[in-house]
Amino acid sequence: MKLHGAEIVDTFAEAFPMWGARVVITAANPAWALEAGRSLTGFATSVIGCKCEAGIERELDPDDTPDGRPGVSALLFAMDRDGLAKRLVERIGQCVLTSPTSACFNGLDAENTVDVGGQLRFFGDGYQASKVLEGRRYWRVPVMEGEFLVEERFGAVEGVAGGNIIILARDAEPALRAAEAAAGAMRAVEGVIMPFPGGIARSGSKVGSRYSSLPASTNDALCPTLRGQVEHTEVPHDVGCVLEIVIDGLALEPVREAMARGLRAAAESGASRVTAGNYGGDLGPFHIHLHELVP
């Protein structure tokens, strides 16, 4: 199948469930809200190496935040609910609590919740105080700068992680242009993040390696430089660069929507071929077929 001159491979992205939360961070100005959000979502590209995957979902106007200040919303995903709670406590505690003027709120109404502010309050060493407004409890933690406000419980949902598209192009310049366009188009979708730097990964991985201690290693079938070395290459002779975009979402539909938008944008912007990563269909219950995403 061709789309704007790019070949869309008849394959599917194999996604799997992960628990997700939405964190709303506000601050005195947009720059500090973004700073705290970037810190919160730093070193969270892959659950394999970082214990969680996270990214900034979007920037928020003051009218869209609980306390009327500028903010950002970020999504964070972990393999299970307990892991999600631990990562939230660690990251909000180290990255948001410490960031000047920040406050932190739950951004997800969900049946399941995890305790975050109720753990972070202990930093107040007994001087913390709580407030209950409209059924939600907030903790006021005194800090040198003033007060850190954090909501006690954060909603947790079983989301979908590992949605992806893989962009192949003649060389690095059109590949990057296509990937940037795809990531940009995906950012307009609410409820998804692309956890890699700028949304783009240059080092897609396969499961396992020849070294027993390494659970994942380079995806040699998609490395252009190994085309002449590996037994089963997936790189055509006219492709010199491959980039991947991984998408995590709070539900399946936003992931599909983000993939569809990214696919179109990549095809329009220089990709010669778009494919997707899977594990033969045995690992994840969600199979998102690329041909179903093409209008």
């Binding site: 407030k131 006021r140 007060e147 850190f148």
Partner: protein, 295 residues
């Protein structure tokens, strides 16, 4: 359609009418409602002796007339909406656990006393012991919201344990007397001895105030949680200004006679001298061997 009760004649002595609550009225037929018992002084009588009943409704009940001599209207209600198109007597909404009680006129003493949940909205003014504590009880209001469009009498929020009391006008003496926690917002200012004996909780005033000598000044800052509360009050119809939303507040901790975990927040600004200027003036007087200036 709304179930409507109209006061036919003023009772000669106060009428105790705890049955005037959506829990008892909603879904009942006219005969059933007219037969409900009320106390007229020491005489047991029927609702039908004083009220005419018209219409029908599930959760929405309206009572018309001057009920200034009718006590306990909406007391203990758990759900639904009750509107009083006029004044209400003592103990209106006392012990309510849910639903909404709207009083379009003034309300007598003890309105919302011992309240556990729900919302009490008074368009006019409230008497003494708004959301207060009954003698012998360990705590007064334990949850819910009280919003008063006019003034409130003395000892509003006495014994408050949880919940929000917001008054657009002025609150009388000893607001938050021996309060345990919770929040009182007095947009129009506080009377004397606010927070006397308070253990925890917050009293906020938008007018200059001099806390008791057992309160200690901490700092001037922008309390992050207050943005949530003031935006909530704005949504409930109170005239909260941008200056109040974005303002800086002097934090006084107290009561030093009782744990000192509570706080009085006083909006800085306007024509009154800053708390820092006043503290500096006091210090200069002490250095000069003079008593602090009288205020």
């Amino acid at each position: 359609m709304t179930l409507t009760l109209s006061l036919r004649e003023q009772p000669a002595v106060p009428l105790e009418a705890e049955v005037l609550s959506p829990d008892r009225l909603a879904g009942s037929g006219r005969d059933e409602i007219e037969a409900l018992p009320v106390w007229h002084g020491n005489e047991r009588t029927r609702v039908g002796e004083f009220f005419t009943v018209s219409g029908a409704g599930d959760d929405d009940v309206r009572i018309e007339g001057d009920l200034g001599r009718v006590k306990l209207v909406g007391a203990g209600m758990t759900a639904g909406r009750l509107t009083l198109a006029g004044d209400a007597g003592m103990h209106a909404g006392a012990g309510m656990r849910g639903g909404e009680l709207h009083i379009e006129g003034d309300v007598g003493d003890w309105a919302g006393a011992g309240m556990r949940g729900g919302r009490l909205v008074v368009r006019g003014s409230a008497g003494r012991q708004l959301g207060g504590v009954y003698a012998g009880e360990r705590a007064g209001m334990r949850g819910g919201e009280i919003v008063v469009g006019g003034d409130a009498g003395a000892q509003a929020g006495a014994g408050l344990r949880r919940g929000l009391i917001a008054v657009a006008g002025r609150v009388g003496d000893a607001a938050g007397l021996r309060m345990l926690a919770g929040t009182i917002v007095a947009l129009g200012g506080l009377g004397a001895r606010a927070g006397a004996g308070m253990r925890r909780g917050t009293i906020v005033t938008m007018a200059p105030a001099t806390p008791l000598a057992t309160f200690v000044f901490s700092c001037i800052y922008r309390p992050p949680f207050l943005g949530l509360y003031l935006r909530r009050l704005r949504a409930l119809g109170l005239a909260v200004s941008d200056e109040q939303l974005e303002g800086r507040y002097a934090r006084w901790c107290g009561d030093g006679l009782n744990l000192r975990r509570g706080e009085i927040l006083i909006l800085e600004g306007g024509r009154s001298p800053s708390v820092l200027e006043r503290l500096e003036a006091d210090r200069r007087h002490q250095i000069a061997g003079l008593d602090a200036p009288r205020r």
